[in-house]
Amino acid sequence: MNAYNLLAGIDLRQDAYLGALLIASLLFLLGLRGLSHSETARRGMKLAAAGMFIAVVGTLLDKRIVSYEWIIGGLIVGTVIGVPMGQWIPMTKMPERIALSHAFGGLAVALVGVAEYTNHYMHLGHFDTGALSLEVVLGAMTFTGSLMAFGKLMGVLPGRPQTFPGQNAVNLTFLGGALAILLFLTARPEQQMFFYILLSVGLLLGILGVVRIGGADMPVVICLLNSYAGLAAAATGFALYNPVLIVCGALDGGSGLILALIMSRAMNRSFKNVVFGAFGARLLVDPVATGAGGTVHEGTSEDAAELLKLAGSVIVVPGYGMAVAQAQHAVRDLADLLENAGTSVRYAIHPVAGRMPGHMNVLLAEANVSYDQLFELEAINDEFQRTDVSIVVGANDVVNPAAKNTPGSPIFGMPILNVDQSKAVIVLKRSMRPGFAGVENELFVQPNAMMVFGDAKKTLAEMAAALKKEG
């Protein structure tokens, strides 16, 4: 094992190396703490970047490194791909980008595990092999799972959940098999063939696990993959006796898990339900039975502008449709006009609006919306009843009153934004097609709701033009 023994005697070079890793770990924690406020967030990020720099330089000085050509090659390729991925990806593509980076994280960890095992399998201890096996199976799973998620978000793969009979049994068999091989390898570290079987099962598990997940469940899945990537890195730390990998892996894994819990709570669903439920596929609910069915009041952009002119307070409710239409700037333009006319404008952000946690916040921030106008569900939900007009931009399930009123509905119990309580509702929507959950939306047939069909960006621009003309 080419790792340091943590209990070895004094070795100045080793102590300096471990010291660098300790400083890096502290900087990462301090950096994360900065993220608790938007004012301190950038400073936090810089601290973490400094930590990364220290850890990398400390490692490069390590006496185990004897040649630099492969390292330099890897660093150059990574930078050439990394800079565009950081600098030029549009904010609307953020979920795709995050999914792809989880794939890279999983890949790096899995490759490290394979190389470590192949180089040392003849004299690996039980713990070491157990940790390496866990690392490789998690890394491989994260890699293929994230690529699947990326494909689904990009629309290359079908976004609807793909199911087949006995799917749960198949997945559980593979999961159990992976666990059995992992335990076997821990007992018999030299059984090389089983290591590669485990690697293949890990790759397969990632595909099987994500193939059944639909678009609206993506926020939870992306968080879970984030968590797996972190846990895989922590397992690497155990295998290589490297504390900084353990700290980072724990932070990354913990963060993913916390976010996944927040997301599934916001959908009123358990983890189990997200992972094994395949929500969108089984929804053949009779629309009449859900209590919907009624007359839709359709309006034009001019009608909507007319309504807004009389409003003293407006709440905008963005959803995934805003990201698809890239309508965040059009939203901002309309809000500016309203504010200049003395109307108060706020934004209500549901935790699972969009395809990843915080998706809507980033888009609106990109459009220069001040963050003190962005409100979380709990903070604004009692305000709807005092609001003149709510504008729903491409959101659907998160404003469906069926979640409160219809016990038989698949989304019943999910916390929703009380848009239906505002005096009037303008719903911008492409068509009457149901939202992701496949459930009809009672809101759309309420007497106080006006539907404006069409591309959200275009409709918003028309509304703004109508306001300007008459204002």
Partner: protein, 99 residues
């Protein structure tokens, strides 16, 4: 020896989970996407493991695996920090035009 090392590492892991939970649960919903990009960047710390495999010159296959791992981890470090910074620069409180 292996077992004592394992226990020390477990200490580190458990304490890091605890510290991480305290810090991460205070990140507001507003910053959840930057949080994901940020943790994505620091998960590129697997770079420190990849560097050693790419540089220890054990055999060509091992070096190649290491170099690919270095590239993948570098993408996350470089891309992750750049995009986090890009996002965080956008989160501003603006002076509202007086109506």
């Amino acid at each position: 020896m292996e077992c004592e090392n394992f226990i020390i590492l477990l200490y580190i892991f458990v304490l890091a989970i605890f510290a991480g939970y305290q810090v991460i649960s205070k990140v507001p919903q507003l910053l959840h996407t930057p949080l994901m990009a940020f943790t994505n960047a620091i998960s590129g710390i697997s770079l420190v493991a990849s560097l050693i495999i790419a540089g220890e010159g054990r055999n060509t296959i091992s070096s190649i695996l290491g170099a690919v791992a270095v590239a993948a981890a570098t993408i996350n470090v470089v891309g992750g920090f750049l995009i986090t910074d890009r996002m965080l620069r956008m989160f501003k409180k603006k002076e509202r035009a007086k109506a």
